[in-house]
Symmetry: C2
Subunit: 552 residues, 2 copies
């Protein structure tokens, strides 16, 4: 690639919310902006997490100079340990983000990570690029946008952002710097599309603090607040409300305990030791003197709040007189789980406060008017809507059009499809490898689609196993075949079918013996065909059929 050419290739995070990762290439240098993971959906049974495909990075490993991270959410940092296992490159991020990354690396037993701290306003060189970090607001502190000076011009990655002019940490988005970058001239803007369907301006995080203060102030019994463990602004507001009403703060749930620890250590959470109650001591504090922070705001079955709601938490209970605040909004797909948690807590007699009935949550992403403001300040020649499903990218593009960006200068891309800037012009590139890499159990190998399909079939229709003992010489069946089912039907229903299935297989093998078929592959095919037809007739189900032939 000649020196005046710039390529930006999204390897994740487009057409989806999650696993954001973008390769930026120029001359002989390539850097990654963010390296996130995503959580599997219902259609990926057994999968623990999903990573972007690293193939493209491997193909350009010799150019790979480093990773820059915008903020500490899993969909922006979750792939870092997997990358560092394979590539020895430095990781640049702000203090809190690095703290969270360090804790992940420890979990993975990676000691050698080359982690380098930056902060908003810093400028640095990496892989031939001139990087500059710009403060933004988000639902986690210490988030930055990244401006990159290239031979083709200045490009700007917003990361996830909102514009909070009254932020909890007194660190508003650096609109002044963005404004002067805009004056200087921005070639292309790669911006957060998540909330591009929402009109208006996302409210300040501070508005949630008012609600939390009122609820905690009015409560007489124990107060439990569930939130994302990474939402340290919200956690900070819970702590402030607890202080204001003379309550101590208990902390429960593995990731909440860990993140509160990191945030306190690094100075992102003003929670003095004297105010903090460890999980095992929560029941020693009178109900009226404590607020308990915990995980489980998404109704995750094993998280602290779900266990409390099911009466299954080992130390913490909630009941009449207690107040529970679910200080989050369900991520699409989690509505049922969150609903179940709320219902169960109410059944226990607790008073439950939740969104949208009460203002206990605001989004961390910019709505349409904020997107307009950013576009107005940066005045980019090209717009590439980032971070979001297609419909979010689409609406972000529409907003760009409203602000006068020519349609031809807006690139609604998909994962693997990059854009090249050269001689002041931009063009779409051919698609590169950019699928999903499924992480399954302790293995780091990929889990193929065929396994996922197999699991789906197993879960829908179960499995039928046929064991036939066969005379090796003449292919004659010895005795009755065994038929065993798992996940197919209740025993009482299956019993009749199992006897009949045995007959079906016996007939099949009598027929094949008569035809003197002794090829096992052939025998298995015949068994599968006959039994599958029979079962689908009788049960309208298509279990996986596994014929096992034992030669005797």
């Amino acid at each position: 690639m000649d020196n005046g050419t710039l390529q930006v290739i999204p390897l994740g995070g487009l057409g989806e919310i999650g696993k954001n990762m973008t390769a930026v290439r120029q001359g002989s240098g390539m850097i990654l902006v963010d390296a996130g993971m995503t959580f599997p959906d219902d259609e990926m049974p057994g999968i623990d997490l999903v990573l972007p495909d690293f193939t493209y990075i491997r193909e350009h490993a010799n150019e790979f100079k480093g990773i820059v991270i915008t903020h500490g959410h899993e969909d922006h940092v979750g792939a870092v340990p997997y990358l560092l296992r394979e590539f020895n490159v430095p990781v640049y991020a702000t203090k809190l983000t690095l703290g969270l990354i360090k804790s992940k690396l420890q979990e993975f037993g990676i000691k050698k990570g080359d982690l380098r701290e930056i902060k908003g306003g810093d400028k640095m060189k990496l892989g031939g690029f001139g990087l500059e970090f710009v403060d933004v607001n988000h639902s986690i502190p210490d988030a930055v946008a990244i401006s990159i000076r290239t031979t083709a011009g200045l490009i700007f990655f917003s990361g996830d952002y909102k514009i909070d002019l009254t932020p909890i940490d007194g660190r508003p988005m650096d609109l002044a710097r963005m404004s002067s970058l805009g004056e200087e001239g921005v070639l292309a803007y790669f911006g957060d599309s998540t909330n591009s369907e929402r009109p208006g301006h996302t409210p300040s995080e501070r508005s949630v603090g008012e609600t939390l203060g009122r609820i905690i102030g009015e409560a007489t019994g124990r107060v439990i607040v569930a939130s994302f463990a990474s939402h340290l602004h919200r956690i900070s507001q819970v702590v402030e409300a607890a202080k204001a009403h003379g309550r101590l703060v208990g902390v429960a749930g593995r990731s909440m305990v860990r993140n509160v620890q990191i945030a306190r250590d690094l100075g992102y959470l003003d929670l003095p030791k004297s105010m903090m109650v460890e999980q095992r001591d929560i029941n020693k504090v009178p109900d009226s003197d404590i607020v308990v922070l915990m995980t489980g705001s998404q109704g995750e079955p094993l998280a602290a709040l779900s266990r409390v709601a099911n009466g299954a938490h080992k130390t913490i209970e909630a009941g009449p007189g207690d107040t529970v605040v679910v200080a989050a909004h369900p991520i699409p797909g989690n509505e049922r789980g969150v609903g179940r948690t709320i219902n169960n807590l109410m059944k226990l007699g607790a008073e439950v406060h939740y969104s949208p009935l009460e203002a206990v949550h605001v989004s961390g992403h910019a709505a349409k008017e904020e997107q307009k403001l950013v576009l107005s300040l940066l005045k980019p020649r090209y717009l590439v809507p980032f971070h979001g499903e297609f419909r979010h990218q689409y609406h972000h593009a529409q907003t760009g059009v409203e602000l006068g960006i020519p349609r031809d200068n807006i690139f609604v891309l998909e994962n693997g499809v990059g854009v090249e800037f050269k001689d002041g012009k931009a063009r779409k590139l051919d698609k590169v490898a950019s699928g999903m890499f499924l992480v399954d159990g302790g293995t780091f190998g990929d889990t193929s689609d065929s396994i996922i399909r197999e699991r789906q079939q197993l879960s829908e229709d179960g499995m039928f196993i046929v064991v036939a003992r066969i005379n090796a010489q003449n292919g004659q069946l010895l005795g009755e075949p065994d038929v065993i089912s798992r996940g197919f039907m209740s025993q009482q229903d299956a019993n009749g079918l199992i006897g009949d299935s045995r007959d079906v297989v016996t007939q099949t093998l009598e027929r094949t013996a008569k035809k003197q078929i002794t090829d096992w592959g052939e025998l298995k095919k015949e068994i599968r065909r006959d039994l599958s037809g029979f079962l689908s007739d009788k049960s309208q189900k298509r279990p996986i059929i596994l014929p096992l032939i034992v030669e005797v």
Copy 2:
């Protein structure tokens, strides 16, 4: 039960949205109000539908005099065919509801159903009760509430309702009749709680008509509108908007075709034959001259709109210049599927209109102010919040308290827990059988929890099958054991593990042979234990392990 005693026992529909069914008993008479089904959630793999438990009905079969149905939605009529298979009782419902029930009975091959038509305003006797039907509005035409005169007093079931004062069919909720029943004195009110969390008043269905008219008026290409097939008010408004803009109406999707047919036959849809285009002829009509009605508004993978969105519909396509309206709101749990459909349609280049971005949907259930109005008119002594999850029942109860009903007179019940009225007093009854009956494939037998758990385990971790040939005399292993996995891991990863698993099983069987263990149960237990420990160590997964021992 003496003659002055009345029992009302919800057998489904409480603590959930779905499978509504309530037994009302007095003296020697029992009737059912509604008989619905529900759809399985993600935690019931392979299940087709869920019915209420019929045990209680069986126990009182000799008292069972009939079924009265409030409206034609699946969660109110879906269990009718299953009941009629087992009990020979009459079914009372309005004309449209009966039309929908008839079509279901045909599907089930039931010819003998004793179906009797009623309409709002009708009074009749059944099982010693005095029944009266009262018009209400809902997201399907011909919905009624049911007032029941009993020896203990008058009770009132709202069914699902909203108050639409400008309804599409010119048939508003009969507030006057409810008012005079209230004057007469209502003992107990069993009311729809679905929207009890929502402030204000649900907008009139007519407001959607205005949006549909505007969208269809502005469209230049083909227009596709997806809606619930049972939402004949909405369908009617689509037809009216098509008429107004000189477009024909195409109909696609099995249940849409069937329901449009039923509604036209019975006079609930004014869609002249000359305006209607059958699915196979849709492509013969110029795009600008047609509106296509179809199923798939919930993103169901096999429904018409999802197929169109995937480019997989056998006749209908959508692309640039076309307009698609998703005229429904996702039911909790369907958000991801609906999102996927919208994204895919946009990727094809179609213009997509959806809620809440545009007013293409209003709810069919009463919000808080409507619930207050009904409570004010009926002035019931007792309130039993019906139809809803616990949180909806809870908020409905709160509204009752606001309107002056004493807390002791409000019963927030769960399925199986009835209430008894006797001598002017009410008390909660002990719980009766009221679980879920899972319908799986073609079988009508129940699917037990253990099968569901087995399927879940299969889908998460897959299955390992071990086949060991053993000398029947001395328990010695003959040759190497076979190890086969399904749904466990990709072959490349599993290969190493499978070889190692073979060694583990070999060692187990050598050990058991040395100990002269020949009991198969014992052998299998040992194999399972050793292999499970090994696999969980190596893969952090716990597949189902099925040891098969073949004696030779």
